[in-house]
Amino acid sequence: MSRKSIRQAINEALALEMRRDARVVVMGEDISGGMGAPGEQDAWGGPLGVTKGLMPEFGRERVLDTPISESAFIGAAAGAAATGLRPVAELMFVDFMGVCFDQIFNQAAKFRYMFGGKAVTPLVVRTMYGAGLSAASQHSQCLYPIFTHIPGLKVVLPSSAYEAKGLLIQAIRDDDPVIFFEHKAMYDEEEEVPDEAYTIPFGEANLTREGDDVTIVAFGRMVQFANQAADKLEKDGISCTVVDPRTTSPLDEDTIIEMAEETGRVVIVDEASPRCNMATDVSALITQNAFGALKAPIKMVTPPHTPVPFAADLERAYIPSPEKIEAAVREVAAA
């Protein structure tokens, strides 16, 4: 056990699984970097250094720098997975899913069902998402609701270093295609993380706070913001339960419904665009199953329905913040 950043936790999960299982290969653009150049051979280690050190340990046979050809290498990863390899492919930014979505949603996602259960596709696609780094409209989106919409995919949104390690190991050992979302603004965030391998099962929500007044359901980075808001509200006598579903597919519907019923007041926080996102999905789930228990209308904290702006002030206004969550909770608590 020691303090590790999310970057380290993910790196460690990959290394542990590669040591344990020769079928695990990783591929992506510049995941080692420095290919063919006279400088350092592991110079890049992923665009944000997450995969650094893997190439020196496991060699270029298992750590593949790819050309900028996502449709080819994501498709190839799915094909290799169908033979029993366990490829972990890195789609640098989830925004780039546009150039390889067919390989994910028409191919990998469909194999098991369409082939009558005969095909198994243990593919992991790791990808960066989220706003907050002034990366503008084509490098800041969330997009996990789009993957969640597709039957046959598992979708994972770790909210901390501990979560990231356990969920990634689970993803690699899982026999279904998994899309693993890493928030680009969270890599440096640290907490205590065990050194050994461990898994966190999919479809089991985590309660990061338990309280009596309001239930907050939050996804990915928003779990942290919800925790911050909850801590602040606690001092003013409003106690919150914070539900981190961990995976949007499968979704732990039971825990969400149960926690909604317990307080009767619900705030859902989602960094994805507000139409057809996780907030609308969870809101529908609660109203269908716990309507009688609700004491106030559900509130959703999301960005506006706009692309992500570049200018820092505009981007700050765009992102759901702990302050916005706090305000929403106060409103719901008072209603």
């Binding site: 653009e29 006279p38 900028i68 503008a136 002030d313």
Partner: protein, 351 residues
């Protein structure tokens, strides 16, 4: 058309431009007039000084987000611009500052976009990678690698549809050349005989990956061969060579002979973006290009050796250019932050 393809183009057999010797004694021969050389010198220097300033401002925290500098590649856009007709269209990637300045966009508006301010070309909503200026026929900086290829193909289609003789120059990098949509675009452009020049700016690296390790056929000008598209490779550190090659390519398109692939061999001096220390290559490699092949030094030498200008005159040009850049930098810092209401505008034309 296949018979006219890349392999038969003169000068394409040498894979890399020969190194130049500094200090030429006799007035060197170029196809450019002294006035043209002076113009190119100024245009390239504007890009260099602008980028140096942008890098500096980034370091000071005045510019945020992704910022990809064009230093080292100035001769490419300057040479191509000199070959373009008034109404020809340009589209490029996120490494776009040089293209915008070359196309005549206002350095102040570009800088104010880098700083995310109200007077930026995209009113602060796009940033370094995303600006657009119809009035300069500049169809944008695009952040998705390979996207400019298909978009540029569409611009060329629109020109052909309208029956004009305008050409679209579509820039992308050596790394982007491996995107599926590039090949799909090539096929369609050849099939429909579209007036598009695909300019592959081969700066040897895609992020940290050298072209030799990402690309099976590294002679990128041959990429169109399978589609019957002629291609040529040129020295991208020599502005006149770029101009002449671009003239030929654009002329080909203007004569309605279909698309053309122009591979321009160049080099970026800085990292991929501001956050890249570029450890995948050696300092010696960079210094060697800087000292032996710098595109601006090259023209400086030509101007001096040809007796067109002396050091003092060139220094004066540098002073003028620096003043323009300083003005742009001040403008970029003084322009107000975007109106908060801008967050919600321009999503759709009408609701």
């Amino acid at each position: 058309m296949t018979s006219k393809s890349a392999a038969s183009e003169p000068g394409t057999s040498k894979p890399a431009p020969a190194k130049r010797k500094a200090g030429v004694s006799a007035p060197p021969k170029t196809g450019a007039t002294p006035e043209e050389l002076l113009e190119y010198f100024r245009a390239m220097l504007l890009i260099r000084r602008f980028e140096e300033k942008a890098g500096q401002m980034y370091g000071m925290g005045l510019i945020g987000g992704f910022c990809h500098l064009y230093i080292g590649q100035e001769a490419v856009v300057t040479g191509v611009q000199a070959a373009l007709g008034e109404n020809d269209a340009i589209i490029t990637t996120y490494r776009d500052h040089g293209h915008m300045l070359a196309s005549g966009m206002d350095p102040r508006g570009v800088m104010a976009e880098l700083t995310g301010r109200r007077d930026g070309y995209s009113r602060g909503k796009g940033g370094s990678m995303h600006m657009f200026a119809r009035e300069r026929n500049f169809y944008g900086g695009h952040g998705i690698v390979g996207a400019s290829a298909s978009l540029g193909t569409g611009i060329a289609f629109a020109n052909r549809y309208r029956g004009n003789d305008q050409v679209c120059v579509t820039y992308f990098g050596d790394g982007a050349a491996n995107q599926g949509q590039v090949f799909e675009s090539f096929n369609m452009a050849a099939l429909w005989s579209l007036p598009v020049v695909y300019i592959i700016e081969n700066n040897q690296y895609a992020m940290g990956t050298a072209v030799t390790r990402s690309t099976a056929q590294t002679k990128l000008y041959k990429r169109g061969e399978a589609f019957g598209i002629p291609g040529q490779q040129t020295d991208g550190m020599d502005v006149v060579a770029v101009r002449d090659a671009a003239r030929k390519a654009i002329g080909h398109c203007r004569k309605k002979k279909g698309p053309y692939v122009l591979e321009v061999l160049t080099y970026r001096y800085r990292g991929h973006s501001m956050s890249d220390p570029a450890k995948y290559r050696t300092r010696e490699e960079v210094n060697k290009v800087r000292s032996e092949r710098d595109p601006i030094d090259h023209v400086r030498e030509l101007l001096i050796a040809g007796g067109t200008a002396d050091e003092a005159a060139l220094k004066e040009i540098d002073r003028e250019v620096k003043a323009l850049v300083t003005e742009a930098a001040d403008f970029g810092q003084q322009s107000p932050e975007p109106d908060p209401a801008e967050l919600y505008t321009d999503v759709l034309m009408t609701l």
